[in-house]
Symmetry: C2
Subunit: 333 residues, 2 copies
């Protein structure tokens, strides 16, 4: 298990402060193995712990409906920073900062950044506390370093699966991004949003590598999906049922625009967008996904039909060009 700060003392204090008697524990998939241990902490603090077993990929999916349905008086949401402006159920966010040292990975990234002098930094909430030290390191190596803060995220330099505003806000000033974190998911988002060379420094694997070839493949695939969707006659516009993913008005607008171009479009409400669920609708030729855009991008090969994002649907109906979308970045909102 990777090591993270679960802020056990603060959790106990928050439970005591609120006098919470029934606490819903929500964890992303990577932290779910910790569920029983974290439940023990809640129990010792005098509350009944209920673990939300449902999939959770972001703070957009805060389990408020489950909490209300179970009369929980507190949600402890692990692994993501606060995203919703207002929570209908009292919520404590435990960001699960990683305790792993990033030095070795950043050192290995240095040769890959050789060609560029102006470097932008980006990371997930797990590693935001390392950005200052990474900046110092790069400065000593003769780089200019910029950390973006567009004001939408909780921390400068922080990105989440669908929001790269911090990276985009500095894209014009830098030559390449250094992303600190494990896996390709968020770094891919940086590359797709900014079209900048993006190097991953992965502190878990203690290695560094470029994500740009992957980003090129994704772009190629997205273009092909839009082209395929152009031939589609019947569309379903997906409305997410997760609290931070519900965009019914946007979906209705897209339906209208599709129908103006001669397509037939239906509104589908959905919680988890999976290939299995969409396969139940053989008469639908293509989907527009107004919920989580990463489902469209990252799982594309698993879906039998095109599943466009909101922005890709705007390309489809001729509102913007593909080139313009690429220039603005796939996650522009």
């Amino acid at each position: 298990m990777k090591k993270f700060d679960f802020e056990e003392e603060r959790v106990k204090q928050e439970i005591a402060k609120l006098g919470a008697k029934r606490v819903l524990i929500q964890l992303p998939e990577g932290l779910k193995p910790e569920a029983t241990r974290l439940a023990n902490i809640v129990e010792k603090a005098g509350a009944l712990p209920i673990v939300s077993a449902d999939p959770c990929y972001g703070a957009c999916d805060l389990a408020t409906a489950a909490a209300q349905s179970l009369n929980a008086d507190l949600i402890i949401h692990y692994g993501h920073a606060k995203l919703l402006k207002h929570e209908p159920v009292p919520t404590v966010y435990v960001e699960a900062r990683a305790t792993v040292n990033v030095d070795a990975a950043v050192e290995k990234a240095l040769p890959l950044l050789e060609k560029w002098r102006k470097i932008g930094l980006a990371t997930t909430v797990q590693h935001v506390q390392t950005l200052d030290e990474v900046r110092e390191f790069l400065l000593r190596a003769g780089k200019t370093v910029i950390i973006g803060d567009a004001g939408r995220m909780n921390y400068p330099g922080q990105v989440i699966g669908c929001d790269y505003s911090n990276a985009k806000s500095i894209a014009k000033e830098i030559e390449a991004f250094l992303f600190i974190g494990g896996g390709k998911f968020h770094a891919l988002g940086v590359a797709l949003s900014t079209s900048k060379p993006t190097i991953i420094a992965d502190p878990y694997e203690k290695r560094a590598y470029s994500i740009n070839e992957e980003a090129r493949k994704v772009l190629k695939q997205r273009w092909a999906s839009i082209e395929e969707a152009k031939k589609a006659k019947i569309f379903a516009v997906l409305v997410g049922l997760k609290i931070g993913q519900k965009r019914l008005e946007t979906a209705l607008t897209i339906k209208e625009k599709l129908e103006k171009t001669g397509k037939k479009a239906y509104i589908f409400a959905i919680r988890e967008i999976t290939p299995e669920i969409l396969m139940e609708f053989p008469k639908v030729d293509a989907y527009v996904n107004t919920a989580c855009p990463r489902v469209s991008l990252d799982d594309a090969s698993k879906f039998q039909k095109p599943v466009l994002t909101i922005n890709e649907a705007r390309v489809l109906v001729g509102e913007i060009s593909w080139e313009e979308l690429c220039r603005k970045g796939l996650f522009e909102s």
Copy 2:
């Protein structure tokens, strides 16, 4: 596509009567291919149709939360009879009665019923309208026929995935059951609930066969699951988040009883119980499922850990014996 009565005229009338402007359409998996056609009917009636794409296996899973979240003023629920006593959102049930003729299948069942004279009838809501004619046929063949009505279902002889009270209410008076319907799912439930010889007359495949060998296999597997769970140290008691499957108080009682026998037990809230979701919790040795008992019984081979039903947990803690549970029927509540 099998043929069903979608009651299109009544749907239009109900929409007009309620003045519904936004209608959530909910369908079980088998009817989902009809979604776009049924949406067209709603649209022609002057309302915005929204199709619930989420999995739906019963009227216990009425999409009231989705409807409320999307401000739908009517749910049209297809394929199941009313189950909840009260719906928080106005709901029209379209039972999707099958139009298929059952004569050929029932004729083929006759030789399989040769040994028995007193026959009980059971079926799903799709075929309840055929029971009178099936009874007439069996009477002419010299049988005594009984159709049970325990008062819990909407129609005499009707069974649903988790409620066989109509079959059980006559089990002592009959020698064998004839089940009218497609697939093994409901007939298996009849056999498991009554321990009676159960013959399926499948009108879609126009064939008849016994389900008792399958039932014996399921019982053997369930016994093995209970035995395996006896060795487990850490349990998670699953509470379903679907409106008709939520049994938090029962789950809390089971947790308490498990802990009295020296086990450690946690409460997990869950929407869809799948092997993938449970695999995220390697520290849990066994589950008790207070949501849909059929997930435990029918998907047992897919789960890596025992997933006991409420009744099986009662065997585990020594409240009743396995033999007693088999005698009472697996779905006794």
